[in-house]
Symmetry: C2
Subunit: 287 residues, 2 copies
């Protein structure tokens, strides 16, 4: 088993006293990754967002800086919103990170939970799933061969062109990150790709069938499930005692969930809800 951290590099949306801006946040981020490496964590993931409340719209750039401050920790995106990016650029950037870090780069590709990137880069949300399927297909084609010939519906074709530089690792690890959609779990299994499941709320036990779907799809496609890695991405907070962790974490966690919740029509959160979620049946790892 491996343990790691991921973050979206959250900042204060509006500058003011006691708030943290993107420069300080990114410098802190590099220190965090350096410390994670020193204490022996296995992986650090950085999310991609295109919003004023997160400083990481270009995770690979910050990960490259972190590569210079670390020796052994794996560096991954959590996630790369592949649907609204270009697979050639994504591969080139992570191959560069992989070369710089001596083989520590990974890509965690997802369809995107936040959808700000679609109108920003001129994509149609009606193509949400098809964009991901096509771009994943191209990304895997680039990983498998130097000279790529590829045709799709939503991205320009490539006719026998090389994609450079090639990464340090023979096969740059590409994970599929999902938020709970069974079809996405099945796709990852069928393609024989490692699966990362994000559980932000609800009971983790209810998500277990997704791994069954994943393994069954893998078997049907001839991929041995025993060789496929899986991962859980959850919200967590650690302090010297469980109660201190809960008390320190509640306010910022509630602020984030209410801010995002207002956009998505969730009801407001409460301390009771928080305390339930950090219990044995909940998705918050706090202690």
């Amino acid at each position: 088993m491996e343990l790691g951290l991921y973050t979206f590099a959250d900042v204060s949306p509006e500058p003011g006293p006691g708030t943290i801006g993107p420069h300080e946040r990114l410098r802190n981020l590099i220190e965090e990754i350096e410390l994670a490496d020193q204490v022996g964590l296995d992986v650090f993931g950085l999310g991609e967002h295109h919003r004023p409340d997160y400083a990481a719209s270009a995770p690979v750039v910050a990960l490259a800086a972190a590569a210079e401050r670390t020796k052994r920790i794996k560096l991954t995106s959590a996630v790369t919103v592949l649907s609204s990016d270009d697979p050639v650029r994504v591969f080139q950037q992570f191959a560069t990170l992989d070369l710089l870090s001596g083989g520590r780069a990974e890509i965690m590709a997802g369809r995107g939970s936040f959808i700000e990137s679609f109108p920003l880069f001129g994509y149609n949300l009606e193509d949400y799933d098809e964009l991901f399927a096509e771009k994943l297909d191209l990304l895997l084609a680039i990983r498998d061969q130097v000279k790529v010939t590829w045709h799709g519906k939503l991205r320009a074709p490539i006719n026998g062109r090389g994609v450079y530089p090639r990464p340090f690792q023979d096969k740059l690890p590409i994970w599929i990150a999902i938020g709970g959609t069974p079809q996405s779990a099945a796709r990852a299994g069928a393609l024989g790709l490692p699966l990362a499941l994000a559980i932000i709320g609800g009971e983790p036990a209810r998500f277990a069938p997704l791994f069954e779907i994943y393994r069954e799809a893998a078997r049907r496609a001839g991929n041995d499930p025993a060789t496929l890695a899986t991962s859980l991405n959850v919200h967590g907070f650690i302090a010297e005692t469980t109660e201190k962790a809960a008390d320190d974490f509640y306010a910022p966690q509630a602020e984030v969930m209410n801010r995002i919740g207002r956009e998505r029509g969730w009801g407001p959160t409460s301390r009771a809800h928080f305390d339930h979620a950090r219990g044995p049946g909940g998705a918050l790892f706090v202690g």
Copy 2:
């Protein structure tokens, strides 16, 4: 006056004894930038290529790694092929580099001398200049305002969307890099942007009128030429004596010029040609 270095991070196209691969080349590159910072050079530029003989298809990723090894040197692309990239991504990536480095990022934007990126990313070479004009217009719009409303012909519109994170510097420096086209010099002047001129061959004196065109276009647009920075990018090599520099530099320079020349229909180079080019009227800075 400022002095700097730029490179394309050239590698051996085919692996073999005595050759250098992309991992070693990128590690050497970071050491070079670190040394350039230590000896007091002002700027380091990294070019973008999509070929087996260059390791930098994602310059900003390597520059972010270099930011962690340096304290004061400016970090720039030389150049970003803006025509075949997305200005939102370019801005986000260099804003991230700028935040990480405490305000040392610059963008050198060009139309592209090599054209490998156009078919790779699905662009039409018939739109060569219009792509650059449109994307530069969008890049400058993003620099000038957080929330962008922009419409063009060749890139999807943006309707009041924010682009984050914002850079460390109030105004991320954006240079226009040209190879000798008078219209490009005039465009840079009219927009009031600093101009970098690459002189790879021929007599530097013949390029002087480009700066006149640039300054005249600036004056006509109401931009004071005295406030506009200009730069020369040339091939160079330094050794303990002039003769040693020439002898050491000739073979690799000839190999590159002949390799590229075969693609472009140039005649083969010779030592006589090289010796002329490193003379007072030539474009090679060797000594």
